[in-house]
Symmetry: D2
Subunit: 345 residues, 4 copies
Amino acid sequence: MARQGTLQVAVVGTGKMGADHVRRVQEVISGARVTAVVDVDAERAKDVAARIDGCTAYSDPAAAMAAADVDAVLIASPGPAHEAALLTAFEHDLPVLCEKPLTPDAASALRVLEAEQKLGRRRVQVGFMRRYDAEYMKLKSLLNTGQLGRPLMLHNRHRNLASPPGWRSEMLINDSVVHEMDVTRWLLGQEITAVTVLRPTPSANAPEGVQDPQFVVFETDGGTIVDVEIFVNCGFGYQVQAEVVCERGTARIGDGHAMVTNMAGRWGGTIIQDYIERFADAYDREVQAWVDATRRGEVVGPSVWDGYAVAAVCEAGVRALEEGGRVAVELVERPALYDISRSPG
Amino acid sequence: MARQGTLQVAVVGTGKMGADHVRRVQEVISGARVTAVVDVDAERAKDVAARIDGCTAYSDPAAAMAAADVDAVLIASPGPAHEAALLTAFEHDLPVLCEKPLTPDAASALRVLEAEQKLGRRRVQVGFMRRYDAEYMKLKSLLNTGQLGRPLMLHNRHRNLASPPGWRSEMLINDSVVHEMDVTRWLLGQEITAVTVLRPTPSANAPEGVQDPQFVVFETDGGTIVDVEIFVNCGFGYQVQAEVVCERGTARIGDGHAMVTNMAGRWGGTIIQDYIERFADAYDREVQAWVDATRRGEVVGPSVWDGYAVAAVCEAGVRALEEGGRVAVELVERPALYDISRSPG
Amino acid sequence: MARQGTLQVAVVGTGKMGADHVRRVQEVISGARVTAVVDVDAERAKDVAARIDGCTAYSDPAAAMAAADVDAVLIASPGPAHEAALLTAFEHDLPVLCEKPLTPDAASALRVLEAEQKLGRRRVQVGFMRRYDAEYMKLKSLLNTGQLGRPLMLHNRHRNLASPPGWRSEMLINDSVVHEMDVTRWLLGQEITAVTVLRPTPSANAPEGVQDPQFVVFETDGGTIVDVEIFVNCGFGYQVQAEVVCERGTARIGDGHAMVTNMAGRWGGTIIQDYIERFADAYDREVQAWVDATRRGEVVGPSVWDGYAVAAVCEAGVRALEEGGRVAVELVERPALYDISRSPG
Amino acid sequence: MARQGTLQVAVVGTGKMGADHVRRVQEVISGARVTAVVDVDAERAKDVAARIDGCTAYSDPAAAMAAADVDAVLIASPGPAHEAALLTAFEHDLPVLCEKPLTPDAASALRVLEAEQKLGRRRVQVGFMRRYDAEYMKLKSLLNTGQLGRPLMLHNRHRNLASPPGWRSEMLINDSVVHEMDVTRWLLGQEITAVTVLRPTPSANAPEGVQDPQFVVFETDGGTIVDVEIFVNCGFGYQVQAEVVCERGTARIGDGHAMVTNMAGRWGGTIIQDYIERFADAYDREVQAWVDATRRGEVVGPSVWDGYAVAAVCEAGVRALEEGGRVAVELVERPALYDISRSPG
C-alpha cells in the first residue's frame, strides 16, 4: 500500500468517451484526479473544467502537457489527432493511456512505434479494454492453466442494436472487429496472418449500401482458425460472445445470464443495449490499472505494438471486404521492446 | 384413426444401425413389424430372424423384396450396396426408408434420381434423421413463422468424443458434416452453392494424419453464410448445436440443459456421449413417420433429390479440403417431382 | 426379443385422459391394441370403438373385463369409479394400469390394498407418470449412485397457467401436490410423516375464495425436509422443477432449456403451456412399460401401497390447509407384498 | 460533479473486514482516504497505519473520533463493540458506516435507535451490502416496475462451502440468514412477522452438534411467504440465490453463469468459493455510496431501524430454532425518522 501522491491527469478530448473518462477518474477510481482537460472546442473544455476543483481548460494538448500539474495523459480525442498527441507526450516523457485506435492506419502506428522505441521504454497503454473485462480475464486464465490444451478455434459473436448514422461497411472492420483482433492476439498469444471476409445478403435493417452482417475469418501464426460474426444492426441488443475450442474442451463467455424471469409464456432475461453497460467494469478496471501502474512508475497493458498490429490487420480486413478472398497480413519484425507478455498487470 | 393392417417390413442390413431399426420397429413404434431381415452374412440374418415371430432370414435383398409378406423396405446396409437395393425396390414398387448416404457419390445418386423419376412418383424417404429431432423441428417452426425475419447466417457445432479406428480426413465431410449439409438445405430451404474448408493445426488427440478439427463454410443460393465446426476427437462428448442469425433475432438449439448439479466447486451437467443417445427420439420419430405415411399410401420426408444434392456438396467439400480455397457446387436442374416442400410429414 | 402376442387392452373411461391413452396404445407404443372401450356414456364409447378395427364398445366395465379378447385393463374413469373397477379386475385376475388417484380417499385405497393382498400378488400399476419422466429418472439415478451423499432437502416448484373452472383450494393438494407426494416418496425412498401448509395472500388472478398459491412442507421418516410451491394460476405456463440438496451437492431438474432465442431485447425461450406437452414422453414410457411388463407376466411401477400412502398424505394436507399448523400422517403398517423397491422397470 | 474535498475516514477495527475496508477506501473507491485506524490490538493498528501516508493509529475509538482530521467513521469491529462506538460517533456528530450486525441484540439496537432519534436526523448507514449487489438491485428494480404484480413468495438459497471452527447452530440464523432477513424487508418493503425453523437431519459434514442445514420460513405483514435454505457446510462453494414469485411471473437471481466450459463429459462452470468474491462489487459500491452521500451531507442506505428490525427477527429465529414451531416477531412502532424508503442512494 506504499503509494505516492495522487496522479494528476490531463484528459485530451471531452466528447462522449473523454467525458466518461473524466467522470471515471474523478468519481469512480482511486489515486488520480483530473487537473487538465483539452478540447479543440474551447467552450466545451471550459464547461467540463468548471465543474472540477483545480482543473484547467486547454484547447492545445501541448500546452496541457507542459503544465506543472500534469503527470500523465489520457487521450480520448478522435483517432486522426492521436499521432500528434502521442508524439508530444513522448517529448514531455509523460505516460499515456490512449483510446483505441492507436492511430487510424498502420503507417502512422508504425511512426508512433518507432518514436517510442527511440525513447527506449514503453510510455503508452492502448485502450483495448476487453483485456480488463472479468469474463475475458477468466477465459485467459483458464487457457493459461493449460487444462484445456492448445486452442484450435475461436468463435466470436459481436452484435450491436443498431449502427449510428453514417456508418459504412469498412467501419464494421475498423471500429467493431478491431476488438476481436486484439482479443485474438491477446487470448491466444498469436499474430493474425490472414483475413477473409464473407458477405451474407445484408439485413433489411442495415442502412442502404452497408454490408451488415459480415462473417470474418482470421488465420494465425499458431495455426488457429478464428471466426467473427459482426452484426451491427441485429435489432435486439448488444452481445459479445467468445468460445475457444481447445484440444481437451471448450470455454465460452458472454452469455450474460444475470437475472432470469418467467413471464407471459417465456423464460429468460434482458439483453443489455450497449457497450457502455456491458464493459463498464472493464473501463473502470482499465483506467485504475493505468493509474496504479503509472504511480508505481510502470507501463503495462496493451502496447503500441498491439496498436500497430491491429491497425495492420484492419487494413487487410478492409481489403478482404472490398476485394473478396483471403488477404495476408504484413507486419514489420517485432522490436525487442515489445517482447514481454501482453497481459495486463 | 382409420388405419389399415400392420405394415410388413424387410430390413436390409443387420449391422449396428440395421439391428437398432429392427428393435425399433418391433418394440418401440406402432403399426409395423419386421417380416424379413437381409444380410450378406446369412448367419447374422438367421440369428436376428430367430428372435422374431414370423420373420424370415435372407442373404439376397431381391429375394426378400419378392416375398409376399413384405410391404416395405428399410435399407441399412453399407452405402455401396444402396443403389442396387433401391433399384430392386423400384422394380417391386416398394416404399423405402434408405439410411444415409443415399449412395456414396453424386453420380450414383443421380442414377437413382433418374430411376425414381421414371416411376413418376416418390418411393424413397432418405434417412436424414435430424429433420425429426424435436429441437431442429422447433427451430424450423420458428423460422417458418417469420418472426425472426430472413436468415442471414447459420452457425453449427458438431463434436464427437473420438473417431472410430480408420477414420480419415474426408470422412469428417462425408460422414459428419453431411448432416449439416442436409440441415442447412432443409432449415433454410436453400441450396448450397460453394464450400470452403479451413484447416486449423490438428488436435494432438486426432489420429496421425487426420485433419481434425475442420472449419467448413457454405454459401447458399439465398445469400446465407453457414459455418460448421466439425471436431470428431473433442474428447468430452457428443454435441450438436445450431444458431440461426436472422434479421430480427437469433435462435439456438443444442445446449442440452436437462439436469443441473452443484458439486465439488462446479455447477453444470453431463454431456451425452454419442449420437444414439442424442438422436434416439429422432430415429423413433423418423421410422414412425415413414410407417404412418406408408400405411396412408404416401411418401414424405427427405427425398432422393435431397440425397443427391447432399452427395454433390460432399464431393465439393472433399475437394475444398484437399485443394484449399472455395469450391463451387454443381447440381443438375431439380426435376418437377421434387418441387414440393422438403419438410417431413 | 422373445415376445408373446399383442396385448389386448380394455380402456375404461374415454374422457380426455382415456381418449389419449386409446390413441397412445393404438398409434404410439408397440405390443398392444385396444379391443374394448368402456364409458357410462354409451354413445361416446361407440364413437371411439367405431374408429378402431376389432374394438367393442361397453358401458359396463364388468362386461368388458369378462370378454375373451381382453387381457388387461387401463382405468381412466373418474376417481370415484376406480374402486369398483379395480375389484372387478381382481375377480378376473386382470393386470391393471390405474390412473391416479388410485381412489379418492385413504379408506377406499386401503380396501383396494386389502383386496390385492388377498390375491397374494400385485396386479396394479398406479399412474404416477412422473416416475417415467426422463429428467426425474436421471435425478433418481444420480441419487442412487450415492455421489451426492444423503438427501437433506428437496425443493419443488409446480406451476400451472390457470386453474380450470370450479377449482377449489383443496384441489391444489389432491390433484396437484399429489404428484410431489409420490415424487418425494419415490425419489427419497422415504414415507412422509407430517404436512404443513402455508398460505400467502392469494394472487389477484386466483378465482374468488381459492387459496392459490400454497407453500407446502413435508417432513419424512428419513429426516428430509421437502417444500412444494404450488401455484395453479401463475399465468405464464406449466413448470415443474425439483432440486435435491444432499450432503455433497445438489441436483436440479425442470429448467426446460431447449431452444434459446435473442429477440427484441430479451434472450430466453418459451415455457410450455400444459402437462400434456411436458409429460408426453413420460405417459408414453409409462404405458409402454406397463404393456412390456404385462406381456412378461410381471407387475412393476407404482403400487397400490403408493396409491394408498399418497391418499393418506393428501388427507393430512387438506387438514393442514384448512386448520393451519402441522398435521401428522397416519399409515397402516406396510404389507410384505409391497416391500420391494418402488422404482419402475 | 460539485464535490468538496476528500473525505477523511477513521476505520474502527482492523480485522479481516476492517483491513479489507481500509484497502477499499485507499485503493478502489474515489473521494476518500483513511486518516485513522483503530484497534484494541495497538500493534495491529500501527502496522496498518504505517503503510498509509497521513494515517494515525489509535487503540481507543473515542480518541480517533476526536481527531481534527476525521470526518467520518467506518465501524468494522466485533458486534459487541458497536453500541459504544456508535454512541461516541453520535457525540461527535460523525456520519457512520456500521458493519452488520448493528448490535448483537434487539435491546441494544433499540438503544442506538433511541439515541439517533434524539439527534433528530440519521447518522448511520448499516452494512447490509446485498442491497448494493448488481443482481439484487436489478431484482428490486424489476419488482418496482410492477410488471410482475405483487410478490406472493420469495425462495432463497444461501450456501457456504464450510463453516469456520466454532460455528454453532444459532450462528446460521444470526450471521447467515440475517442477510435474507434484510433482503426480505428491503426487496418486499414489508416487515417480517413470524419465523419458523425446520430442521432436516444434519449433514454428515456438519460439525458435531450443529444443526446444518436449516430451512427457515418467514411470514410478512404483506402476506408474503419467504423460505430460506441455509446450508453452511454444503461442500461445493458459496451460492446465494433468490426467486420472487409474483402474480404475473417470477424472477430469479444468483445462477452465476459467467463462463461455461465443456470438458471431460461435463458442461458448466465453476462455483465461487466465498462471499468476498461474490459480493466484492457490492462492498465497493456500498462504501462508495456512503462516501458520496457523506460528501453531499446526506445519509442513505440501510438505517438503524433496519438494523433493529433484523435484530428482532434474529431473536425470534433463534427461539424458533431452539423451541420448534412458529415464533412471532415483536417490534416497537417505527419512528417517523425512518419512514422514508429503504432503498440505497
